[in-house]
Symmetry: C2
Subunit: 157 residues, 2 copies
DNA sequence: TCGGTTCAGTTGTATGTTCAACCAATACAG
DNA sequence: CTGTATTGGTTGAACATACAACTGAACCGA
């Protein structure tokens, strides 16, 4: 474990790579949000919630699982789900097994919204990320970020 | 130019890589913010502003340049700089050459805060990103994200 | 040099996110 | 059992961000 007082600075190449990473992520997220707003009826967080739900066999997930998977705070999930519920995209269902629990369940309207949005979403991801890289670059990028994710997850655990 | 109706889905490998990317970025940003709040007196946006300023010979930058470089909206820069001005980290200076312009200039307090924070900031970046990857992986990551950044910047221009 | 247009930045307002306090249900030690 | 700690989720207020409207300055074609 290295302490801050180690003063282990990054060398020039490392600094450049880190900077490119920061800028690339920043610009990409900016474009993603912009294109979503411009071309789709779902915001990025709403889309992400629906994707998570759609992957469950019963198209529903407990609030806390949703928070974990999206790396959102519990309160954020509460508010976001409330808005989506008002918009008819999801529905809250009391948990049968644990009376504290609440399941967030995708409605048909939510499902249709997701299906309608997916092609455009994929198109955006392609245009600004996937198609910009070679296949090998993309796969390396994924592998590297998976390691980063795991390192971070370990720290949060 | 491909339209959304092309339905050019991602294959399994591409999907996995995209997902790993999303999750990795998400977790990393989460940890970065958390560790900043926990160990440093500067938030991430404040730190980023100071880094930009510190790279200028006169330690100051016009509001609009700052917005461009950080990929922030102009209004966000206005508010963020106002908060930082209140905290004594930066100072607004009327532009001599263009009476519309405003320069955001780092104060000595801002400089000291940055210098004091940098080692810990680097330590965080190392722990959760740089040291998790081999040198080659890091450099490839940087190269890939630089391409993504350029593709996005071209779209915004 | 006038009139329109663009540009730099701020302001007000709506929206989204976080934080801390809270309630209710569960788990668990004694 | 009983009291205490923990967990799941919500609430409301503070805070941050986005968006649109606005002011004043600069630019530019006629």
């Amino acid at each position: 474990m290295n302490t801050p007082t180690d003063h282990r600075w990054l060398d020039t190449e490392q600094q450049a790579a880190w900077r490119d990473f920061l800028e690339g992520v920043g610009r990409f997220q900016e474009v993603l949000v912009r294109e979503h707003d411009r071309r789709l009826p779902l915001s990025v967080p709403e889309y992400d919630v629906l994707v998570q739900l759609s992957e469950q066999p019963d198209r529903s997930l407990r609030m806390s699982r949703l928070a974990e998977r999206l790396a959102y705070s519990r309160s954020r999930v509460t508010h976001t789900v409330s808005r989506m519920e008002r918009a008819g995209l999801v529905r809250r269902v009391a948990a049968a097994e644990d009376k504290r629990g609440v399941h967030c369940s995708m409605t048909d309207a939510g499902w249709h919204a997701l299906v309608a949005s997916a092609p455009t979403h994929v198109d955006i991801v392609r245009t600004y990320l996937v198609d910009v890289l070679t296949r090998d670059e993309l796969l390396s990028l994924g592998a590297a970020m998976a390691r980063v994710r795991d390192a971070c997850a370990a720290a949060l655990a």
